[in-house]
Symmetry: C2
Subunit: 624 residues, 2 copies
């Protein structure tokens, strides 16, 4: 226990919940890392699609990022309102299911679950990829490195929300600090040089242009790819409950800081790329460098600052998976509370978090990492679709929320307008992303969403049936309290079967001792000792005599004739309970189990599977 | 069931045992394949060690094989006597333990078990190696091929002794037929050519000699290696029970035929090798051919007969593993009957054989094949040591047997002499083999034997203790038949807990309903409904009131406080039984298990592990 305690922290009492609540400073690494790190790959994703334009492409990046920033602004104001309206956690699932109904709620739930699982897998593998591209000797160990990073994140998360925030504060602030410095110094150079800065290290020349101008299709694709920069914005609204009071205010402040920094970074990177004439490189080029790497080299050269920046990007990317770990368990809990997922997701673990959600996410992420051998970078475009679907549903839900709120649309027209505009913008974006990325893999998401919804509906159906069958508000029924018929399988007369007989006599007057007699070598049956050992003492006490049932078994089977007898007995005595007493040896060492047949275990299992409400199994343990 | 029936045959009733008995013709493939196929590698094993002598080596092979044949003759006569004296199976284990005591018995048992496991693994891999050396495309699939051959042998064996004999008769007789033809035709050529036969295909030239004459060490090593040809001779004496009456006669006849053929083959191959000036090739030479391949080419050329002979050798080698499958289960049964191995080895399966022995041997063989990646040919020398140790102990035991037999050594002096001489000869050989092969791997056997003996002693100790504790020849004790204290864990009031309450009231008047109350969200406890639903109807019936025990759980644990309560209750009530009633949901589909906590299973396990004789678990199933 001591090892577990020091690894995961001592158990927290339910009353200690308040102490686990976090503030803005811890909220940024916990819920913001996913959003912030998208600054590292969002602009590059858009710029990669501009490569065919050659050097002319640099002129398009600022407008595209500006469009994305406008969308980001809309989403930001929408979620600010949502947080205020849902102080106990306003994730897309909650908002959509409460305002739009179960169907849209499940759609949001499925989209978000896929989004979070992919976020975790992609975050880990992107971080490791950055590491392996720095030292190609590590390349063969990609999968192992991924699993190590995952393990670290899981352990930190299992220590609870507060410890997670504390652990990730430093890398997050280093990442934000270096990138803000890069943008600040870069912009300063641009301004002082009159718009024509001299790069310290010249960026690689742009590839020759293969197209002349930006077509609408290419524009759509570049915009869609750039939208990857917006994933993770949902996180804060889902986790409002993690903040201390005043909850909504702190959550809103956290969201504001995150979006603000993200906007500065995105615009700064786009602006500097144009000023320094930086184009993206083909990802499979021999001397591939990321846009961030080229940009940092251009502004600072390859000094210590370059390496600190790159290291902070690697670390932040690897840890960005943490956002998924912070939110997935809360999402799963919300869904399970509506009976759409197994109820284990409702249980709070030793550190007060919904540990089973962490386990489930770890399992799914591990499976994906192993399936793709740690090469999940191709999945990056896929998860934007889930995020945008959730955005749209959440904001459409908010429109209905305001309409039904006290005062109606007259009082809340402005709120309705903001959320409605947000829903429209993100809805259109969802369609654009789906079309632009369908062949590249969005079809996987489009396929997984209905599958997940079907599973959740099946779970709900099961729980509904169980509740209906189990619910009993009538008082205890004491009619017909008849003792059961007791069945004791007996191979020989020894102390453990004697114990079973004694217990059987307590239970009922009607006892059947069943002996399976196979004409195997040296098996004499029980008749020889029955009168002497059993009947005589029972007659002396004046108790009712148990019946000895000997069943011959020509084929040396034991379980089958026993099962047949019990089922037939139950059939012949309708309304009576049958209690099967199974003596069970409990050995001192696990290996000793191999020295005793496992027939009792098998019989127990079969009685459970083939039995019915009227058959009860009683284990009589015998400690060796 | 139908598929199993057609694969493994219908179940056989115990009364059908006689029909499963075999005759001499079936006995040869079942018990003789291992011995007979050693003709294929025994002479070669000796000749490989003569390579340093160059062409001069051919002169030594006949004397060495003659020495081995003399030893074989001694062993043959010894085992003939053993079979007559032990008509119910006279394996080394039985003979040694009955006459020399438990210690030597266990030594023989351990040696033989290792021998059989290695026989199975080496047989399979030698057969596959012959196949892969014919077509090197198959080489990467060695392990897979080994496992396929093993599967076939296991399935055939699981069909029972009779079917196994029938299946293996054809390949055995083909092997014996082709090799006898080879020897016969070869000897005819030698005689008609006046001792200087002209090979159809000249054997590859002998390597240049590196030593001048045969030193004692080299002679010992060549002799030891050639002794591999004697493994498998034990098999018949172990399996006497498989034969029909007159059992001993049929077993003796089978042994005679097997040894007779083996002697002819061994001597024939040695004689022809000298006549045709055939030397062994280094096994890792580029165009490596086995001695048998060179010999057949020399006598017949590379026509159809060559290929038939080679194919029959491959098949017989692969199937030689079958001898282990015929004998290991009988050996394990004999050891288990003395409580030195788990009792499952005593059970006869659906086809009347000791199936668990087959399973165990299959398991060990698979592990060895996987560990060595199917390259077990280096293990060939190892298993001769086990076989010779068993020979020695068996015959030493027979000496004692005759001495103690009616009439004593005056009447049986000839039997004693034969067995005594056999014991001496094989004992010396054991020492020679152990020394000559110690570094090459016999040390593994020397290490495994004591480990196995320790395991068997541990098993015996366990069974002795259990028998002592369990044995109860006193009649049923009806004193102090007091009803148990019933404990019912209850999370909420529903139909399944109501069922548990009803059953509890049948068991005892003293009922404790335990409710673990964690101050988790929305948990109101049972107090609210307790009076209304439970106490009122019980008071109406005038029954004793159950006690509601509410235990707070600050850390949301459920199992721990429950276990603590039960153990404390048991502690406070010495002499009383505690019956814990555990309601258990039985779902319709396996996946539905994921939707219900597995707390009940965990609690059951813990009660079994931490509980004691006085705690009884009652499963109350509820079928959904």
């Amino acid at each position: 226990m001591s090892f577990v305690d020091s690894l995961l922290g001592r158990p927290l009492a339910t009353s200690e919940e308040r102490a686990e609540h976090i503030g803005v400073a811890a909220g940024i690494p916990i819920f913001g890392l996913d959003a912030l790190t998208s600054a590292a790959y969002g602009p590059e994703a858009a710029m990669t699609l501009l490569i065919p334009l050659g050097l002319a492409g640099v002129h398009y990046i600022v407008p595209i990022i500006t469009a994305i920033l406008i969308l980001l602004g809309i989403v930001f104001f929408s979620y600010r309102q949502t947080i205020a309206a849902y102080p106990s956690g306003g994730g897309s699932y909650t908002v959509a299911s409460e305002n739009l109904g179960d169907g849209p709620g499940l759609l949001a739930a499925a989209a978000l679950m896929i989004d979070y699982i992919l976020t975790a897998a992609v975050g880990v593998s992107a971080g490791v990829e950055a590491l392996t591209s720095a030292d190609s000797k590590l390349l063969p160990h990609t999968l192992l490195l991924c699993l190590i990073v995952l393990t670290v994140i899981v352990i930190v998360n299992l220590r609870g929300v507060k410890d997670t925030g504390a652990a990730f504060i430093a890398p997050t602030f280093l990442f934000v600090g270096t990138l803000l410095t890069l943008v600040g110094v870069g912009v300063f150079h641009v301004i002082t040089s009159g718009g024509h800065p001299v790069p310290v290290l010249a960026p690689p020349p742009a590839l020759p242009a293969t197209v002349k101008f930006l077509g609408i299709w290419l524009l759509m694709k570049a915009f869609s790819s750039g939208c990857a920069a917006m994933t993770g914005v949902e996180a804060v609204s889902n986790g409002v409950m993690a903040f201390g009071e005043p909850r909504s205010k702190k959550a809103q402040a956290t969201l504001t800081v995150i979006i603000g920094i993200l906007a500065v970074l995105l615009f700064g990177i786009a602006y500097l790329s144009r000023a320094y004439h930086i184009t993206a490189m083909e990802p499979d080029a021999s001397h591939y460098q990321s846009v961030l790497s080229i940009l940092t080299s251009a502004v600072f050269g390859r000094g210590w600052f370059y390496y600190v920046t790159m290291a902070s990007v690697f670390t932040a990317l690897a840890l960005s998976a943490n956002t998924a770990f912070a939110d997935f368990p809360r999402l799963a809990r919300a869904i399970a509370a509506h009976d759409y997922l197994p109820h284990v997701f409702l249980l709070r673990g030793r550190r007060l978090l919904f540990s089973h959600g962490v386990y489930a996410l770890t399992g799914f992420t591990t499976v994906i990492l192993i399936l793709f051998d740690g090469q999940t970078d191709r999945l990056i475009p896929l998860y934007a679709i889930g995020a945008f679907l959730a955005f749209t549903l959440s904001q459409a839900g908010m429109v209905v929320h305001w309409k039904n709120a006290e005062g109606g649309y007259k009082k809340h027209w402005w709120h309705m307008f903001v959320n409605g505009f947000g829903a429209l913008a993100t809805g259109l974006t969802t369609i654009v992303v789906l079309i632009a990325k369908f062949v590249a893999g969005a079809w996987v998401t489009a396929l997984l969403v209905p599958v997940l919804i079907l599973i959740m509906l099946g779970v709900k159906r099961h729980y509904t049936r169980v509740k209906r069958e189990m619910k009993d508000m009538t008082p205890l029924n004491l009619v017909n309290l008849e003792p059961p018929i007791v069945v004791i399988p007996m191979a020989r007369w020894d102390r453990i079967t004697e114990k079973a007989m004694r217990f059987g006599l307590l239970l009922s007057k009607e006892i059947k001792v069943v002996h399976i007699h196979s004409d195997n070598e040296g098996d004499e049956g029980l008749e020889g000792i029955w009168d002497d050992k059993v009947l005589t003492p029972i007659r002396q006490e004046g108790l009712q005599e148990p019946e000895l049932v000997t069943i011959p078994s020509n084929f040396r089977f034991v379980i089958t004739p026993l099962m047949d007898y019990i089922l037939e007995l139950e059939d012949r005595n309708p309304g009576r309970k049958v209690a099967v007493l199974l003596p069970e040896m409990v050995v001192r060492h696990w290996w000793e189990n191999a020295l005793h047949g496992q027939r009792v275990q098998l019989l127990k299992l079969l009685l459970l599977l083939k039995g019915n409400q009227r058959i009860v199994v009683v284990n009589i343990p015998w400690y060796l």
